[in-house]
């Protein structure tokens, strides 16, 4: 039954159409994800300075990502993307980067301010150039202080909380106290530092500024430290929030940013859609006019090709960018290539007097090696493009690569199946006209 495969393909095409249409509404599980250049938004690229991290760099970077993610969520962005990235091996210098995508955010500076402010919490031992001088009731500290790194930083902080001290604690009643809870590693480090430096001041620095410099009274075990500086309750509350959400384990520096306003994005998207429709129409028109009946079959295959590509973009999902749309249009032009190859071969067989259906089989067989080699080299270049990185290039490479695969499937499986189903065993003059090529009324090659 030679119609069976063709009917199966039609049924699958019907299912695909149903899927694409039913998921095109606003409330769907499979929307087409638009890239920042089409939807509008901000992309920020930070360079993470990991030069001071001796051990467990990855752990520090992971917690950096978590902290930034918290801040982004506080900022209120829908579907943000926060990713760690390392500069490519070919770049010479290895850099750790943090990539942020904030759809819908178009105020670059507000975003940078809210996310990029980098409170870095450090604990340093303060030693003085000279001994403290006591005059009367006040003790003046020599201003030339030397701070030595203890290795204890915000990356060992598990959480912090705000408490108010009782009157009996030695301070003023209701004085704000900031309680720092270290993680296991931090607790061990803290214990070691406090054991070795009893009697010395331990400065707590936020962004390089000393916010408190309590003197170590005794070794502290258990990983809990308290800061009782001269805070107003509001200051203390802000600090706790910043410590919880913002004490960055690794200092970061803005290396690049890209903001696209919403109007520019919508314009680019609509222009891209229009170009897709027009590109498709032009290619389809040419195919039908030149290749006639097989051309029409190729156009049907092209429609199914588009359905497959769109469904894949939705399901995978692939973020569509302006360059991705260009890749889609380009691949429409290229997807017919396999068909053209097959039709030209088929034509040659018909000219040799073969029956139409045999011509289809032989034509496909003859065209296959060239189709295979051509598609594989295109896949190679899209793979290399993908490796090149950056969202523009990857947006192109993914859609292009996908298009190449979909083209291979449609040309080989769909066009052939349809042609075998339609074509008769023997060719009448009418069939010869339908299978001929050229714009004229009479077939050119009979």
């Amino acid at each position: 039954m030679r119609y069976l495969p063709a009917l199966t393909v039609l049924a699958i095409a019907g299912l695909l159409t149903w899927f694409v249409i039913s998921t095109s509404g606003p409330e769907t599980k499979f929307p087409i994800k638009l890239g920042l250049d089409l939807a509008g938004g901000t992309e920020l690229i930070y360079k993470a300075d990991t030069s001071n991290i001796v051990s467990d760099k990855q752990g520090a970077l992971n917690s950096l990502r978590d902290v930034i993610e918290n801040r982004v969520n506080l900022f209120g962005v829908a579907e943000p993307r926060v990713e760690l990235e390392q500069s490519s091996a070919v770049a010479g210098e290895v850099e750790d980067r943090l990539l942020l995508e904030l759809p819908g955010v178009t105020d670059t500076q507000a975003a940078i301010a809210a996310i990029g402010e980098t409170p870095v919490l450090e604990f340093k031992l303060a030693s003085f150039g000279a001994a403290p001088v006591t005059t009367g009731t006040t003790t003046s500290i020599n201003l030339e202080q030397v701070y030595t790194d203890t290795g204890l930083t915000g990356r060992y902080l598990k959480s912090s909380e705000l408490q108010f001290g009782p009157a009996s604690a030695g301070g003023v009643a209701n004085q704000p106290i900031i309680v720092l809870n270290f993680n296991e590693e931090g607790a061990a480090l803290f214990e070691k530092i406090t054991t070795e430096n009893v009697g010395k001041p331990l400065a707590i620095l936020l962004d390089g500024e000393v916010i408190s410099s309590p003197t170590i009274q005794e070794p502290i075990t258990g990983g809990v430290a308290t800061i009782t500086g001269q805070f107003t309750p509001t200051e203390a509350r802000d600090l706790v929030r910043n410590l919880n959400f913002g004490a960055l384990p690794v200092p970061i520096e803005l290396a690049g940013s890209n903001t696209v306003g919403p109007t520019l994005g919508i314009d680019a998207y609509e222009a891209g859609l229009l170009a897709t429709v027009i590109g498709f129409a032009l290619v389809a028109l040419f195919m039908v006019l030149w290749y006639r009946l097989p051309g029409l079959v190729a156009v049907i295959a092209l429609v199914i090709y588009m359905l497959i590509t769109i469904a894949l973009i939705k399901v995978v999902p692939i973020t569509l960018t302006a360059s991705g749309i260009a890749a889609l249009i380009l691949s429409i032009g290229m997807a017919v290539d396999a068909n053209v190859l097959i039709f030209e071969r088929m034509k040659e067989e018909l000219r040799l007097g073969k029956a139409p259906r045999d011509a289809v089989h032989i034509g496909f067989g003859r065209a296959w090696p060239a189709i295979r080699d051509g598609h594989l080299t295109m896949l190679i270049s899209s793979g290399i493009l993908f490796w090149m990185g950056t969202s523009i290039v990857q947006g192109f490479a993914l859609v292009f690569g996908l298009g190449v695969i979909a083209s291979l499937i449609t040309a080989v499986m769909i066009t052939r199946v349809f042609l075998v189903a339609i074509l008769p065993e023997e060719a009448s003059p009418l069939w010869r006209t339908l299978l001929g090529t050229g714009f004229g009324h009479k077939p050119k090659n009979t």
């Binding site: 500076q109 222009a271 170009a275 027009i278 749309i325 290229m334 493009l385 090149m388 290039v393």
Partner: protein
């Protein structure tokens, strides 16, 4: 076959095209965009009347932003390129463009790239082009490994790569001339266009080589004696229809992007269009004729070995 008979002529025509393109690239090299050099691009659109060019340049120059370039885009837009701006400089620039709010505007795009990101992209782009060259050469040599007479398999690989070099140098030369008049810059999409062209143009070459491969095999099986030149000429004639028609459909698709597509992809499509046309022509008139000298050389060597 016409092309084979007149191959010296076509050698010179494409050779001349190549020389002209290389000359254009050397004499009027297109500027690299900030994606490669690092820097900041700010695009704004005035809601009211756009101030005249001289005034905008004067306002921006007053800020000392390191040789900024000011260009009008569309009827309402202005694009400023400068060194990487700090947030303060960014605010100052927007203030200057709007003259402190007197000329109302909206910021359409703000793109800032640090120097290290730019350097990395440049290196990656060069590596990518090299990698595509190498991968395609190896793949072709592999795909044609069984056809070793009279052209050795690597001969197909080398020829394809020579073709690819032409296929990207000529569009690049065209772009240099285009950029000279329009001020366009080499950006990521330009590099994508070159890489996609390499992936596409190799198709034309493959289709012709595939025919040559098929004919050689058939000749051997049926014991037909045919000169290699004849085989090549026949293969080119037979694939002519396909080569032209495929390029036409791709060109139609690209035309759609050029006519109605988004601004950012227009230059990409233009470069690709030139590449597709040049690529098709060069594969028809050059790829197979390039094989003939290699065949002659290989046969001479084989003959020398036998003695």
């Amino acid at each position: 076959m016409f092309v084979v008979r007149h191959r010296t002529f076509f050698f010179w025509v494409t050779g001349l095209l190549l020389v002209a393109s290389v000359a254009a690239l050397i004499l009027i090299p297109p500027r690299l965009s900030i994606e490669f050099t690092g820097g900041t691009l700010v695009e704004v659109a005035y809601t009211g009347e756009r101030p005249p060019h001289e005034e905008l340049v004067a306002r921006v120059d007053a800020l000392d932003l390191g040789e900024p370039s000011v260009r009008e885009t569309g009827s309402q837009g202005v694009t400023v390129r400068s060194h990487t701006l700090s947030p303060e400089e960014h605010t100052a620039l927007l203030g200057a463009l709007s003259n402190g709010g007197a000329d109302p505007l909206t910021e359409l795009r703000f793109n800032s790239i640090g120097p290290s990101l730019g350097r990395e992209l440049t290196t990656k782009a060069l590596y990518a082009i090299g990698a595509v060259f190498l991968a395609i050469m190896l793949y072709i040599a592999f795909a044609f490994r069984k056809v070793s007479r009279p052209v050795p398999a690597w001969g197909y690989g080398v020829t394809s790569v020579a073709m690819l070099a032409i296929d990207i140098i000529v569009p690049a030369g065209f772009f240099a001339v285009y950029a000279y008049f329009t001020g366009a810059q080499v950006d990521t999409l330009f590099v994508i266009a070159l890489l996609a062209l390499m992936g596409y143009c190799i198709n034309d070459v493959i289709v012709i080589f595939d025919r040559v491969r098929e004919h050689l095999k058939a000749n051997e099986e049926r014991n037909i004696k045919e000169s290699f030149e004849e085989t090549v000429g026949k293969s080119i004639t037979e694939t002519l229809g396909r080569s032209i028609n495929t390029s036409l459909t791709v060109a139609l698709a690209l035309l759609a992007i050029i006519l109605v597509g988004s601004e950012s992809t227009r230059v990409f499509a233009l470069v690709m269009l030139v590449g597709v046309i040049v690529g098709t022509l060069s594969s028809i008139v050059r790829s197979a004729p390039l094989l003939i000298p290699i065949a002659a050389w290989a046969q001479k060597r084989e003959a020398a070995k036998k003695q």
